[in-house]
């Protein structure tokens, strides 16, 4: 009887409604090694920990993020809420977003891009709701970050409807927990130049572990239940990283 009821329910269930709350976040920067993939992993971890369905789209030819997702699943540090796809063209990204939107199959889409400026940057930018650019604290990195900000500002003059462009956010990443005066000066310079998100991403071993294993909250759960009681306090570092990532994600969504 129960199974019959289930079948009836399925048969009568209406087609899914498009998800008007879908949020597309693209990590973009004109430089490789700036931390886009790490930032993407952290934000994905935060979204999944908040029980949101996430699709990650890897457009980087190295396929690092998809490989990470596979590794996470293999090691039981993934989540059924997280799916991934490799897409090789702007058109492909557009189609994928449309499919997810129509089928209401995710709440967030994170797009990781290659660290170069290119023609496709414009195409990805117009599809996203938010563009997030990680910038490290060095004079050279700020200069490259300024190029990304400049490209985005100029994009406004090259589209038919600037109002529908996404919001641009800069996240300062790999910030040393012991901030020096030089760092403080660079942070001030960054705030003066970019739309910097209040919460910075610190240089943390938890992010390295996230790269190695998978989602932050899955790592935290594993540490919490570690049979070795000496390992359990280590959960604190992972939880701190997860809180930081959640703050950043909330700042992006609020910005």
């Amino acid at each position: 009887m129960a199974s019959l009821l289930r079948i009836t329910t399925l048969a009568e269930s209406p087609p899914p409604m498009p998800n008007d709350n879908l949020v597309v976040i693209a990590a973009m920067a004109r430089k490789g090694g700036s931390g886009k993939t790490t930032l993407s992993r952290a934000l994905i971890s935060a979204a999944v920990a908040a029980n949101r369905r996430v699709l990650l789209i890897d457009t980087d030819s190295t396929g690092v993020l998809v490989a990470w997702h596979r590794r996470a699943n293999d090691a039981a540090f993934g989540s059924p809420l997280l799916r991934s796809a490799t897409v090789e063209s702007v058109r492909g990204v557009d189609r994928k977003i449309e499919q997810v939107y129509e089928a209401d199959s995710a709440d967030f889409i994170f797009i990781d891009t290659a660290g170069v400026g290119a023609e496709w940057s414009d195409g990805i930018a117009v599809l996203a709701d938010h563009i997030v650019t990680p910038v490290m604290l060095s004079t050279s990195d700020l200069d490259v970050g300024a190029q990304t900000a400049d490209w985005f500002e100029k994009l406004r003059s090259r589209v038919d409807d600037p109002a529908s462009l996404p919001r641009h956010h800069v996240v300062l990443n790999m910030v040393d927990p012991k901030t020096t005066r030089a760092d403080a000066a660079l942070i001030e310079a960054a705030i003066a130049r970019f739309p910097v998100i209040e919460t910075v991403m610190l240089r943390r071993n938890a992010y390295k572990e996230m790269d190695e294993k998978g989602l932050l909250h899955a790592i935290a759960l594993q540490k919490q239940t570690d049979p070795n009681p000496l390992m359990r306090p280590h959960v604190r570092h992972v939880v701190e990283a997860l809180e930081e990532a959640t703050d950043i994600l909330n700042n992006i969504l609020a910005g």
């Binding site: 490789g32 449309e98 170069v116 414009d122 195409g123 709701d129 200069d143 409807d161 462009l165």
Partner: protein, 205 residues
């Protein structure tokens, strides 16, 4: 309704495809100049240098270099510069490198009975003998290097120009980093492993 997707009405005049072309072309031009000039003066030396750095397969035949030496004045003529031989040379870029041991290797190096600088230089030679630069960036290791700068081995390596270009394109589009920064993640661990191997050979683990 999904958000309105703007239409890009005109391309970005400054998008980095133009940078890319620059990066692809410049090293080749630089390499062609670098290869052509020594050929006029010491062709055999150049050919040797290229082969020592692990590009035996595509290096020009030694005979050709020797012949070039014998007929030195002819090679210096402009027509010789235009010969396709520079194109047959493997496209390489010279990268200045500085390598030192790890802090954890200090004690064994001091006790091994051989000048530590010699051990490090030997390790460097072994490490790069059959090594080829991979176009995928490897972040430099965070292991602590020794602070004894007298031991440091400095030399230059000829590495595959295509791989350097790929690394530059992906990790240093503005060309602000040193080439060594781009390749040290690949070279240093090999040198440290060779130092360990030499220390074992010398009986000092």
């Amino acid at each position: 309704m999904r958000k309105k997707i703007s239409t890009v009405t005109r391309p970005d005049p400054a998008y980095a495809a133009s940078l890319r072309q620059g990066f692809v072309e410049d090293p080749r031009r630089e390499e062609a100049v670098r290869a052509a000039i020594p050929l006029e003066q010491s062709g055999a030396k150049v050919a040797m240098a290229e082969r020592v750095q692990g590009t035996e397969q595509s290096a020009p035949p030694v005979v050709e270099s020797e012949a070039s030496l014998e007929s030195g004045p002819e090679i210096a003529t402009p027509s010789a510069d235009q010969r396709p031989r520079t194109r047959r040379l493997p496209a390489t870029r010279k990268v200045d490198i500085r390598v030192n041991a790890l802090e954890r290797q200090e004690e064994a190096l001091i006790d091994c009975g051989v000048d530590p600088a010699h051990v490090i230089r030997a390790a460097l030679r072994r490490a790069v003998k059959k090594w080829q630069l991979d176009p995928h960036f490897v972040a430099p290791s965070e292991e602590i290097r020794t602070r004894i700068t007298e031991w440091r081995a400095r030399t230059s390596l000829a590495v595959d120009a295509g791989a350097v270009t790929a690394l530059l394109r992906a990790h240093d589009p503005l060309g602000v980093l040193s080439k060594w920064t781009l390749i040290r993640g690949q070279v240093e661990p090999r040198v440290w492993a060779e130092i360990d191997a030499i220390l074992i050979e010398l009986g000092h683990e």
